[in-house]
Symmetry: C2
Subunit: 334 residues, 2 copies
């Protein structure tokens, strides 16, 4: 930094431009009420001084128009949500404050900073902490939970229809002639329960026996689960994985073991993250629409802010998933 010491303020600009602070404020906010000549002059001086309105002082004055967003830095799907939420918030005239959950920074810490930041509502991406914690948070600020089930009047929920998503996967495999289909589950991760249930339901509905293999949300967990599956005497012909990362890990195990995909084994993921779309993976998967979820979440947050409370939209925001067929599923062997 080479420029002056102090940060330029609205008053500095006003003084230098020879106008009132009100006028500068008007011009900077783009509201009408200033002559073109003055508007021009203010802009010029502001640029000269490197003036940027102080968002904190602005917020202190009245409403902050801030949406607090908690997400996990290492989750690709959360990255998609972040992107969508930025966009949706901007459209609605709100700003977003990010608060990341990392290995050394837990959800409680993440929310604490959001609270201190004067956010008007909280968006929580797939919170892992218990239900009581969530309702506790929701008691303090309007709260929207994404990608997790919670049933409580204080919290709005936006999620994918997990059960339906898994059903799409199973049905797709059935259409291809598979009958021995296993599910690598997500363990204790949010949504894992629903997907497990969806799998069981879909299988039993067709008179098939559900087989669950313990997994997780990471590539490693998928890898390990697939190895276990390959060791089974009665090897299945298809795998429905908890998510894309898990599916990718499983794929690696299969490649390693020389099992041809999809000839000898079909694999379906969940999420449709960037990972799945890469041409080399070509993963058949269940797509969660991050953009739609983001839009819904923002809209619900704002509605909660403005109506003070209560969910006018009636119930969870459930986004329908879609089946994306790529290269990892194929006909069952005769």
């Amino acid at each position: 930094m080479t420029t002056s010491g102090r940060r330029a303020t609205l008053a500095d600009v006003a003084r230098r431009a020879g106008v009132s602070t009100t006028l500068v404020s008007l011009v900077m906010r783009g509201v009408p009420g200033a002559s073109p000549a003055n508007r021009e002059k203010v802009f010029r001086v502001a640029r000269e001084l490197g003036y940027v309105p102080d968002s904190r002082a602005r917020a202190l004055r009245g409403r902050s128009h801030l949406l607090g967003l908690m997400y996990e830095v290492h989750q690709p799907f959360h990255a998609d949500l972040v992107d969508g939420i930025y966009a949706a918030a901007e459209e609605a005239g709100y700003d977003v404050v990010l608060s990341a959950v990392t290995q050394r920074r837990n959800e409680d810490a993440a929310v604490e900073t959001l609270l201190a930041d004067r956010c008007e509502a909280l968006l929580l991406c797939a919170p892992r902490t218990g239900r009581n914690w969530i309702t506790g948070v929701a008691a303090r600020l309007p709260t929207v939970v994404l990608a997790r089930h919670v049933r409580h009047p204080d919290v709005s929920v936006v999620r994918t229809a997990d059960v339906k998503g898994i059903r799409l996967a199973v049905d797709h495999l059935l259409d291809l002639g598979h009958t021995r289909i296993v599910h690598i589950d997500g363990g204790s991760v949010p949504a894992a329960e629903q997907r497990r249930r969806g799998y069981r339901t879909a299988m039993t509905k067709h008179g098939l026996t559900p087989v669950l293999v313990p997994g997780g949300w990471s590539e490693e967990s998928g890898f390990l689960a697939a190895q276990r599956i390959l060791g089974d005497a009665d090897r299945p012909t298809a795998i429905v994985a908890f998510n894309d990362a898990c599916a990718t890990g499983a794929l690696s195990a299969l490649f390693r073991a020389g099992v041809a995909v999809p000839q000898a084994m079909s694999v379906v993921g969940f999420d449709d993250t960037h990972l799945a779309g890469f041409s080399h993976v070509g993963l058949t998967t269940i797509r969660q629409d991050a953009t739609v979820m983001a839009r819904m979440a923002v809209s619900r947050a704002i509605s909660r802010i403005e109506t003070g409370s209560g969910d006018s939209n009636g119930g969870d925001g459930v986004v329908p998933p879609t089946l994306v067929i790529r290269g990892t599923t194929g006909p069952a062997r005769a």
Copy 2:
């Protein structure tokens, strides 16, 4: 939200506890100067009212103690940096404001919000915008650039010794008896230039001919590049990829084509992101130490803030990379 309408303030707590605002302020900041009895009472009332100090009002008062961090949501290595920077900043008594770069939100927009947020310094993770933009930003606020070369008195740089990193990779392969080693480069991405140069230097030093294959930072680019390599008449025996994602993509192409790794082809990545560590990938790679880089970056930012300007640490912060040998490299075939 079920509680009262207005957010509780310091004055509310003071009134309810029957003490002065000063006292509450003291207690909340944990500075000495209040009787144990009062301290206790203030804490109790604060909890009852759900009082959280307003960080924005606090910042308005004097210094904000805020570090602005720009990073790319979809880059795993940036996630590692974010994690480290949160930790390092906290140790130093600073807070972090995140500003993500996404597909719909460019670097300029990201920095603009950081400026408005009253940050005292900026940390830019591998900025892609031109040099002039960076120096322009640095003219406004103390700035530290991570993982990219910039030579300018106004900007501090923290980066991995890219040239040395690539040399480690090449030397490792030479030790294993490889001579036909190609480099899948990073195109126009920051640091790609240095790695390219490091590769050329390392090869020519040993009298070998460098062979560059155009690549990029994504898995897809690595996949495509590897396909091209496999099509070559004079197929190499080893690949040094621009980064882990690129290497992972290349690995997939090799698996697909039935090329055994490392028997028929060795592959080295760069970064040592989570991806590389997963057991199923077992990628030999050049490790960038995100934690050390984060610590250095924070320390330089603070030093710039406090000394007003100038880089007392003298020159770039260069973090030595290390070779991590896993399963994707092996002896060249006789």
